[in-house]
């Protein structure tokens, strides 16, 4: 083999395989080499990815294989896939730097496998490859939640896993229906879409052809956190490990957005779903009192933008969805990194907390709590404020930052498609995003504590709290009040990327799947952004006093939880009853067989003697029978 062919083979190695293979070596590496290894793998993945030719708006299959009658395309290089793989690998670099001092082999392995899954999904050219990496992503990301090792994180991880296995199940059903319908496993957009008006007729006339895209959409919608299938997102992202949530904010939902762009461009229901998500995420973000939960709801709102754009389906809208996914990963990973840093200094991840001054009124049978601002354990540094605000202003769509180069593209695509109501809803949601991420969080974490501190209005009672009193899933016992240099570097790198793409949007526009005929630096989008954000700021100044209330926000998962008890009774109790009945039947059968084997009831030689089995035990005999039955059953089935 010549050097050239070796180099070609090496470059053709799918980045997902590189990451997954590299993950297996992590247990052998000493602690401080692990993050370096993860960064090196991600850089190599980027180098391999970008050394391949990409044909604009068409596919170039790098690696192919056959499975039965189907041709697999595990590594396809096209502009859309390369864009998503690039940003996934970039966030693996910044996130790994952030996790440099992490001393958890399992979490590092989980992170790399998670990254491998996400990159594998966006570079897959067929359904089977997509499904394999989709499930790898689900399992590996669950590990990142369990890595928190706090009270409640196990249960959250299980709920997350159930959601995603269910979503994976829908996806698999969709794939099977699709293969049955078309005979092909290649990823192709559903150009005709799903006709909701004639859905009933279509289900009767062409069940496979209709159920395929329906189940695929349902499976992808779970990962894209489409309301009402979203409850896993704020639940899991607020409880994952601090480093894990950085990767989770970037990978799962955005790989689902990629699949939506790929399979369902122009599907009209997605426009409605996107608008609902934008409003829902904004309102719940404003209701929440936990930093990572606010950021999680903000993800739902931003996903709403992308999904609405996919619903519009024009080239500009799809470019906008892809560009917004890219920008969103940049600033959201930065914000989640800052959230972890905030918790290090503040000693908590909540904005407002109840003090313990409880006034019990026995005669009324009620108790009242006084809402007081609890000072952070340490004042949060202004350097962190600057980095956080770059992310917060990016997500709010402030000019010269990364959010501004993608959000106006989506808005303009809606305007050009004459969805004016949708356009105004998205602008209102954008102002709401500024309210919770750009104003509510920084006011509570930086401004208000300093104002109180300077005025001598510090809550004395709350300062005397014992740290054990606030032990909760949000307070990490391993946290100290010092931020490692690597975390500062990672946040600075993230902020730098937000600025870079905000100042030079053509860098990103050159990677988009369709030619871009849009410039954000025009009078209209700049004027719109400045005026709306200014109006939103003064509304916050007027009403901020009533905005901060501690408490746990009730989401739609409350319905599942409330409905869970009756459902548990029906499903679990019925299952127990059925299993109990089966158990009795099996025991009686085993007893009868035992007696038959021993010849207690029959006459003549026992079956063991008949078949020359040497000293058969009861268990081996039953296993023998069951095994024979299984073989016969399998033979009949085949």
């Amino acid at each position: 083999m010549t050097m050239d062919s070796m180099a070609t083979s090496l470059v053709s190695l799918p980045p997902s395989v590189l990451l997954a293979g590299g993950a297996l070596l992590i247990p052998l590496l000493p602690r401080y080499f692990r993050a370096a290894w993860m960064i090196l793998l991600s850089i190599l993945g980027l180098a391999f990815l970008w050394s391949l030719p990409v044909l604009q708006a068409s596919e170039f299959c790098v690696v192919s294989a056959t499975y039965g009658n189907y041709s697999l395309m595990p590594y396809v290089s096209d502009p859309l896939g390369r864009l998503f793989a690039t940003i996934f690998l970039l966030v693996l670099i910044t996130g790994s730097l952030y996790a440099w001092s992490l001393d958890d082999r399992g979490e590092s392995i989980g992170t790399m496998l998670y990254g491998a899954g996400a990159v594998g999904v966006v570079l897959a050219g067929d359904y089977l490859t997509l499904f394999v990496f989709w499930e790898l992503m689900a399992i590996a990301s669950t590990w990142l939640i369990w890595s928190r090792r706090e009270v409640g994180s196990t249960a959250v991880g299980v709920r997350y896993l159930i959601y995603h296995l269910l979503g994976g199940g829908f996806l698999l059903m969709g794939i099977l229906f699709q293969i049955h319908s078309t005979g092909s496993i290649q990823l192709q957009p559903f150009t005709e879409g799903i006709s909701w008006g004639t859905l009933g007729q279509d289900l009767v006339s062409n069940p496979s052809g209709t159920l395929g895209p329906l189940f695929l959409l349902l499976g992808v919608a779970v990962n894209a956190a489409v309301v009402p299938l979203h409850a896993w997102l704020p639940d899991a992202y607020a409880k994952a490990s601090w480093t894990g949530s950085v990767f989770m904010s970037a990978l799962t939902t955005k790989s689902a957005i990629y699949v939506m762009i790929r399979l369902f461009p122009g599907l009209d229901i997605l426009l409605v779903a996107g608008l609902v998500m934008a409003v829902f995420g904004t309102i719940y973000g404003l209701l929440s009192n936990n930093v990572r939960q606010i950021l999680s709801y903000s993800i739902i709102a931003q996903l709403g933008y992308m999904i609405a754009a996919v619903g519009v389906g024009s080239e500009m809208a799809l470019n906008g969805a892809a560009a917004h996914a890219f920008s969103h990963i940049l600033y959201k990973s930065l914000l989640f990194m800052c959230a972890g840093a905030m918790a290090v200094y503040a000693g908590r991840a909540t904005l407002v907390e109840w003090t313990d001054s409880q006034d019990d009124s026995m005669d009324r049978g009620a108790s009242s709590h006084t809402q007081q601002w609890k000072q952070p354990d340490h004042p949060l540094p202004w350097g962190l404020f600057a980095l956080y605000m770059i992310g917060a202003l990016s997500i709010s769509g402030v000019p010269l930052l990364s959010g501004f180069i993608s959000k106006p593209m989506i808005l303009e695509s809606l305007g050009k498609a004459h969805h004016e109501a949708g356009l105004l809803i998205l602008i209102a949601a954008s102002i709401g995003t500024f309210l919770h991420t750009g104003l509510k969080i920084p006011y509570a974490m930086w401004i208000k504590p300093r104002l109180d501190s300077a005025s001598g209005l510090v809550d004395v009672a709350s300062q005397n709290h014992d740290v054990d009193d606030q032990a909760s899933p949000e307070t990490d016992a391993t946290l100290t009040h010092k931020l490692p240099l690597s975390q500062w570097l990672a946040m600075s790198l993230g902020a730098g990327l937000c600025l870079l793409f905000g100042l030079a949007p053509d860098l990103l526009y050159g990677w988009l799947p369709y030619p871009v005929k849009f410039s954000p630096f025009e009078a209209y989008p700049i004027s719109e952004s400045l005026m709306t954000l200014s109006g939103g700021f003064f509304a916050f100044v007027l009403l901020r006093k009533w905005l901060y209330r501690p408490g746990r926000v009730l989401d739609l998962d409350w319905i599942y939880q409330k409905g869970g008890e009756p459902l548990r009774k029906v499903v679990v109790d019925t299952s127990w009853a059925v299993f109990g009945a089966v158990d009795i039947v099996v025991q009686r059968m085993a007893s009868s067989m035992t007696q038959w084997f021993r010849g207690e009831k029959g006459t003549g030689p026992t079956p063991a003697q008949r078949f020359n089995l040497a000293q058969p035990s009861i268990e081996s005999a039953i296993a023998w029978i069951v095994g024979t039955m299984l073989v016969i059953g399998l033979a009949l089935f085949l």
Partner: protein
Amino acid sequence: MSRSQSTGQFETGQSGTGQHRAGQSGMKPPWRHWFVVVPVVFALLGGAAGVIIEVVYLADYASHWWNEIPVFYLLFGLISAVLTLAVVILLQRVLLRKHHGGSEA
């Protein structure tokens, strides 16, 4: 025993009073006005810049019906934010569960 005593991880400031902390922060009362003035000035400048851009460059721009309304986006920003916040403040009564004693989950 507090965790600060047992592990030393939260060693500074945990046992101090609020007044003690206020002294630690090193902030003098006159400076606190900057925390209000600077953001307000930025917001005013931003809004004014937006209005000037609209007046100077977008006087004849008419892509949507609302482009006929002067400073529409400033009004829309203010009104939609007030409405959103009002809805959220009302919803707090319904959707926020009080979580007593310390941090919430």
